[in-house]
């Protein structure tokens, strides 16, 4: 240790210096208080051994000044003096001295004091190190405290957010216009909102804590639906499943609820009572079915009406109206390149027949003629009752000659009709589509003129319009 010896007596100073060096320490000697203080201010000594009575600056004052520095460095001060009173020891201690030695110097006591000094200074070093460690630990603690405070603030903030979220969820949950309830991982009801209370007639305090199936009943929550619910608890969502208990109908949706670390902690289900809609849909379906039946009936009736409108009621073949439509179509076809022949047929002496045998017999003749004409026609030809005892035949894709040939065959068929009253014959006037007969009116007139000629020529014959013109020319 470096030791500062202060004594205005050179003899005493030498004795101290010698004895302290013998103990193995470095010694600096000052012979006055001011000199010692000046040196001490420049250099801290761990040990100071000072005389008491010195001019200008005595030992106690030097002690007080050293202690007054308060810079953390500890100095062990030994007052070494010829003052013997116990009160002197107290005064020295009060001034800041740590120990006291009387003159003459006892080397053993000095050695003892220095051992104490070394121990105390060692402790002081240890304490300083501990203090440094404590300061460091305190700094760390302060830092950790700041972090903890920040965490606490974050936690408080998080708690607040969580509280707000809980409130919002609660308001939303209770205010939902549909039944809503949550279940835990064992399908036990955890929450049950007011709409669920109304829908199922079960109060929240009665539902919560009970298995879902015991609350909803097995007629609604069937085994299959229960499996669907359990699948929700495995993460499988479902939306708008139709559930019913035989009386009421529901749309049910469910999704899993996740807790911390994304583990499924339960599920949430919403139930909408669609019984009214279901009933309405059923009624609509029923009415639709009835409507379809009525529509079908109407369609048949319309079809029948349409047939009636184009069919001759007596003979069952197309009537004059149907003839007009078909004739128009076939003239268009002929105009595009196909041929068309037209025959006007008149039952010979029909008026006389009626007068002689009655209208009913006349009607039977007309029916028989109509049937014959219809049955003997080619597949694409057409026959209609023109009016009274007249019929009109349309021959598709033929010229006048072919039309005449076909007409002749028909005439013969009519002539062979059996009749209990007398033979039935008919006259045919034939015309075909051509430059002078390029529309319905012209064609009908041409055929009608040919028919007139056939009548004139004695009936029961076929006269072609072109032949009639030749005859006129001849």
């Amino acid at each position: 240790m470096r030791v500062l010896v202060v004594d205005d007596s050179r003899v005493s100073a030498r004795v101290l210096e010698h004895a302290i060096r013998e103990l193995g320490h470095e010694v600096e000697v000052c012979y006055s208080g001011p000199e010692a203080w000046s040196l001490f201010e420049r250099e801290r000594f761990p040990v100071v051994v000072t005389d008491w009575m010195m001019p200008d600056l005595d030992g106690p004052e030097l002690c007080r000044r050293i202690r007054g520095l308060g810079d953390g460095d500890f100095t062990y001060i030994i007052m070494c003096t010829a003052k013997d009173e116990k009160s002197d020891r107290l005064a020295a201690t009060e001034a800041g001295a740590d120990d006291y030695l009387s003159k003459p110097l006892d080397r053993l006591e000095l050695a003892s004091r220095f051992l104490v000094a070394e121990r105390l200074l060692g402790m002081q070093v240890t304490l300083a190190e501990r203090n440094r460690q404590l300061v460091e630990a305190n700094r760390v603690l302060e830092s950790q405290k700041l972090e903890l405070d920040a965490m606490l603030r974050r936690l408080e903030s998080t708690s607040l957010i969580a509280e707000v979220s809980r409130n919002r969820f609660s308001q939303l949950f209770e205010g939902l216009p549909v039944a809503c309830f949550t279940i835990d991982s064992h399908a036990v009801i955890f929450e049950w909102n007011s709409r669920a209370e109304i829908m199922f007639g079960v109060r929240s305090f009665e539902a919560v804590g009970r298995p879902l199936r015991s609350v909803l009943g097995s007629s609604l929550l069937t085994a299959q639906r229960m499996r669907n619910v359990k699948n929700v608890l495995k993460g499988k969502v479902f939306h708008d499943q139709s559930w019913d208990d035989g009386n009421r109908y529901f749309l049910v949706s469910a999704l899993p609820l996740y807790g911390l670390e994304s583990t499924i902690t339960g599920g949430i289900l919403t139930v909408v009572d669609v019984t009214r809609q279901q009933r309405a849909e059923e009624q609509i379906a029923r009415q639709l079915r009835e409507l379809n039946v009525a529509h079908e009936e109407l369609r048949v009736l319309n079809q029948r009406l349409a047939a009636l409108a184009t069919t001759d009621a007596l003979t069952g073949i197309p009537n004059h109206r149907a003839l007009q439509d078909r004739l128009s179509e076939m003239i268009h076809a002929a105009d595009r390149g196909g041929g068309l022949g037209l025959a006007m047929v008149d039952v010979d002496h029909f008026k006389l027949f009626n007068d002689e045998f009655g209208h009913q017999a006349g009607d039977e003749v007309l029916k028989a003629v109509a049937s014959t004409l219809r049955d003997k026609l080619r597949r694409n030809d057409f026959v209609a009752r023109y009016g009274g005892e007249e019929f009109c035949i349309l021959f598709k894709d033929v010229d006048e000659a072919k039309a005449k040939e076909l007409s002749e065959r028909l005439r013969r068929a009519i002539a062979q009709l059996p009749c209990e009253h007398r033979a039935i014959t008919a006259s045919f006037g034939v015309a075909s589509f051509g430059p002078k007969t390029r529309n319905a009116a012209m064609l009908l007139r041409a055929a009608d003129e040919a028919l007139y000629a056939a009548k004139e020529q004695g009936r029961n014959r076929v006269v072609a319009y072109s032949e009639m013109n030749k005859a006129d020319a001849a």
């Binding site: 004594d7 205005d8 007596s9 050179r10 003899v11 005493s12 030498r14 004795v15 101290l16 010698h18 004895a19 013998e22 005389d51 009575m53 003096t81 010829a82 003052k83 003159k103 003459p104 110097l105 006892d106 080397r107």
Partner: protein, 148 residues
């Protein structure tokens, strides 16, 4: 002459001093000197030289203070002298210093007598040093001359 208590083996080669007349105390505590010097005669002689050079000034200051009845100065000087004597082991002188201090604080008036006794003790120390440390020249300075 010597204190018989705890008298160490004399390994310093220093001749024991003669008894002081009248006082009965030893001139020097050789056991102390041995102990404080670690048996180093050279150091003792150095210390003796220092002692002999310091004390006359203190004695002179004390004498002046006593002459002018400046008792505070006399008291401080006697205290310093006592410390110096104790540090050198001059037990005879230090004992007289103690009595002087007591007299100064207690109002005993035989201060001159005590001062003379102090001088006599100092002479004995000088004599002793002169015998044992020939390289040290004892000198009383003005006081020696005054005392003579």
């Amino acid at each position: 002459m010597f204190s018989e208590q705890n008298q160490p083996r004399n390994t310093t080669g220093i001749t024991p001093p003669s008894p002081v007349s009248g006082g009965g105390e030893a001139v020097l505590d050789l056991a102390y000197l041995y102990e404080v010097s670690g048996g180093d005669k050279a150091f003792i002689c150095d210390l003796a030289a220092e002692f002999l050079s310091t004390v006359p000034e203190l004695l002179s200051r004390l004498e002046g203070a006593l002459r002018t009845s400046d008792f505070p100065t006399a008291g401080r000087t006697v205290h310093n002298l006592k410390g110096c004597c104790r540090s050198f082991g001059a037990v005879g002188m230090s004992a007289v210093c103690v009595r002087l201090e007591e007299s100064l604080s207690g109002g005993v008036l035989d201060l001159p007598g005590l001062f003379e006794e102090l001088l006599a003790c100092f002479h004995e120390v000088q004599e002793f040093v002169g015998l044992n440390c020939p390289e040290v020249r004892p000198s009383l300075g003005g006081l020696q001359e005054d005392a003579a």
